[in-house]
Symmetry: C2
Subunit: 201 residues, 2 copies
């Protein structure tokens, strides 16, 4: 039984959205599973690496807006011009963390729904209420979710996930770890698939 | 007659090396030419964007070393484990600038030779002497080159190229501009080729 492919993501990243679709397609083609793992670029990029967020970076910020939508069209993935590139990822990241401890498959479907709503449909997923709406559509009691994401236990659990990702060397989203090999970027999915097929080079 | 594809590069970037080979293959397949344009990441990334150089960035630096060699093998492009990721790009960038004003095709062959020597063979191209050796092999008088790259005229000419690249929004290497559309990264060559084929999407 092969190990799951580890998929590190932050809802704030349009490339993580693109990568989330690509990695599930690759996993399905090769009979593999995907372990969705939350990380926070606001901690890895800003605090550990000492860089700026992409949208705040001169030249690169403007380019990335264009590149993300162009890449989505190239890949045939829905992408809304209205998608806000700056929004709070904590409510959704905490909700994912809380859900995953109960039901990893439900948490994945929740994450896919948040990605699709924010990036595919352009609906702002930056508020706890918006996040609770999406979870509720999957049968998650909204009051319970809204209470959970305000608890120290859930906040600390997410922070532990983020610390663990950094300890693994994960610095960007999406990051994929396949049979111990790390790949960063939705644009490395061709190499990820080749790695699965060949065992590496 | 279609416009040339603009290819912005810095010898310091292993991805620019990989991209330099890919873009010439694509251009050849589609009857296009490539206009090689020098830029300096030390100015665009460090001074304009306010970021660190990749090798100096925690987590990302170590990953990039691995990613560059893995990408080269994936693409079937020679890449030496001995290639130094930190070296002075100014002697080669200035020599290219000086050569291009005389003979753009010779300058391209010189650049390809520098890329291949440094990244493909692992020979350090950070010194004026090493650069002059490579130019000499193409018939360029070495004393003339060594004198030229120390002149203010050549230094200012390169700086003008760099300023022009930044004015165009170019912030990384390799960058390709195809029929007015900008693509950053050797990993965007699939999109570059599709753009040439389709006129955009």
């Amino acid at each position: 039984m092969p190990q799951p492919i580890d998929f590190y993501f932050d809802f704030i990243s349009p490339y993580a959205y693109l990568g989330s679709i690509g990695i599930e397609r690759i996993a399905a083609r090769h009979g593999r599973t995907v372990d969705w793992r939350p990380m926070l670029l606001g901690i890895s990029v800003l605090k550990v690496m000492g860089l700026k967020a992409v949208p705040d970076t001169p030249l690169k910020g403007a380019y990335s807006d264009r590149d993300a939508v162009r890449s989505a069209r190239f890949l045939g993935i829905p992408y809304s011009d209205a998608a806000k590139t700056q929004f709070a990822p904590l409510p959704s990241a905490r909700a994912f963390t809380w859900l995953k401890d109960q039901d990893a498959d439900l948490a994945k479907r929740f994450a896919q729904r948040i990605f699709a709503a924010h990036w595919g449909e352009g609906r702002d997923m930056g508020s706890a209420e918006a996040v609770a709406d999406e979870a509720e559509a999957l049968g998650v009691p909204r009051a319970e979710l809204l209470a959970a994401i305000e608890t120290d236990a859930v906040k600390q659990r997410l922070r532990a996930h983020v610390d663990a990702s950094i300890a693994k060397g994960v610095f960007g989203a999406p990051t994929f770890i396949v049979d111990g090999e790390m790949f960063w970027g939705a644009d490395r999915l061709d190499q990820v698939e080749r790695w699965i097929e060949t065992g590496g080079w």
